[in-house]
Symmetry: C2
DNA sequence: AGTCTGCTATTCAAGATTGAATGGCTTGGC
DNA sequence: GCCAAGCCATTCAATCTTGAATAGCAGACT
């Protein structure tokens, strides 16, 4: 049973790690939800405790000393272990009450999720829901989110995923704009239209062309990552854009640009960390999401 | 730079680990050099933070829940990383002032070390020396000690070792006792004597017999791990015992029991952790020890 | 040059944490 | 069956930590 505890204060180590990661005491304080003087003092205390110089104070900003760089490496592995702790703990959590963070796309967040979330809240008022709206896939492993709605199956074995359905997406345009294009009825005719895209990647272009269209970069007059902006622009007749069937067909201002075109098919996956899938709270939210999205 | 800090208090995790390792809040408090209420509260706070039950409070003592057992595993790996941190930090330590812990045997501690330590203290008053007197080889990796004096070369690659010398040990007995035995001049005659040994292991016996003696368990009337006790008993004429040449020859009450017998040969190694060998303070102590022991 | 923003260091009162002492409990030994 | 030892929970005063506010400073931008 003889066990020697580490001599230094672990929280100070965490303050140091945050500072090293974020680049300044102030930023670290924001990340740790504490104040800049506190972080500064904790790091100073750690330096005194370990009798090493971690940062070179150079007026504006800090710069890690070589020693500090050595140490931050090991503290990072403390942090990784800490993340595993919080992951397992969340999975073992006994109470239904508590936070759940859901990561999803803008479209789902705005058009699909609200009624589902309302239902969850009504049924389980103790569950606090945070929605992380992002197009990038959040890191479930790092617990930026607990549950993610994704359009692909995750590859990591530590993630648990359930396929909800196969969704369909079509090209939509406003009635006015399609009129202006002469109500195109073939892919060729539609290829003269303006399109609204995500980015300038070629992959999107190739996707369109694989469906029979023949588009080039010139077709994309407006680019935005923001799907809501895309959709508003589409409703205003600025161009053609891809939208899920559910949202697109429900919008009276627009119609399918080329009904004969076969739809984009994409799966919908609900994903969580395997550790979390044993938590009652996560399980409840996961199942209600699955039910609502189906 | 987006970095998500772990939500829970790392020091509380450490308190929990200590409790799990030591078996009780009180013992953990002793290990952490804090008080029992503090540890109890920190563990309770961690339970609240993680919303998990870590211990089953069952009157006397605590018992880990399965959840707690899961978590302690991960926190242990935090602790391992923490140990690496303190190790590297000690290696990088800038100041000569500070503590050094030396692990050694009783004989060295009492007969050889004092003048050397006095010399170190006189030369470097800022260095605080702690001596861990133990026959068991202390765990340098876990930093129970910084420097160890050992009679074998360590096998772990992370340890740094320097061979100081080859020592010699002989069999010693008091003048009176040897007289009483009839001043034995052969191994056979000496084999009738009482011997004072460390333990009832056969290895010691085999060592003696390999040198020409023919001893059995019956020869060992007194057993003790305590070398000083062995030596005092020897001086009082209770039996024969093995002692280093330096100590044995310097003691007027005893003489070599069988001068013709070739001595035990054993190396003397000074060992430290590789990380520490770059610390100025450790280096200074290490070198002065090596010089004094040679 | 001048302004603006964002950073660190310091101060001091408010707040949180700590630990000695105590009470109540359980276990193990006589 | 009783006693002693060891443990956990609670209390409350002393201590330590925290954070809002402030001052001072270094770069970026106009």
């Amino acid at each position: 049973m003889a066990w020697h505890p580490t001599g230094f204060d672990w929280n100070r180590a965490r303050a140091f790690l945050a500072t090293a990661q974020e680049g300044s005491f102030s930023a670290a304080a924001r990340a740790l939800k504490t104040s800049q003087p506190t972080v500064g003092r904790q790091v100073a205390a750690l330096e005194a405790e370990l009798d090493v110089v971690l940062f070179e104070r150079v007026g504006h900003g800090l710069v890690l000393t070589p020693t500090g760089a050595d140490l931050v490496e090991h503290i990072r592995s403390m942090d990784e272990a800490a993340h595993r702790v919080s992951l397992v703990a969340a999975g073992q959590s006994v109470s239904l009450d508590g936070p759940v963070c859901i990561s999803t796309s803008q479209i789902e967040a705005v058009y699909t999720l609200p009624p589902i979330l309302a239902g969850i809240r009504a049924k389980h008022p103790g569950i606090e829901i945070e929605v992380l709206v992002t197009n990038q896939t959040s890191d479930l492993g790092r617990r930026e989110a607990d549950i993610a709605i994704r359009s692909f199956r995750p590859t990591q074995p530590e993630l648990f995923a359930r396929k909800i359905k196969d969704g369909a997406a079509h090209l939509y345009g406003s009635h006015a704009y399609l009129e202006q294009l002469g109500n195109p009825s073939t892919a060729e005719e539609l290829s003269r239209a303006n399109f609204i895209g995500f980015n300038r990647d070629d992959t999107l272009l190739q996707g369109f062309n694989a469906m029979g269209l023949s588009l080039s970069q010139d077709n994309f007059g407006v680019i935005s990552e923001n799907q809501l902006l895309q959709w508003e622009l589409t409703k205003l007749g600025v161009g053609i854009c891809v939208m899920t069937e559910e949202v697109g067909d429900a919008e009276p201002l627009v119609r399918r640009a080329l009904p004969s075109l076969s739809p984009f098919r994409f799966p919908l996956w609900l994903t969580t960390h395997r550790e979390l899938s044993t938590s009652r709270r996560m399980r409840v939210v996961f199942d209600l999401l699955a039910e609502g999205l189906a």
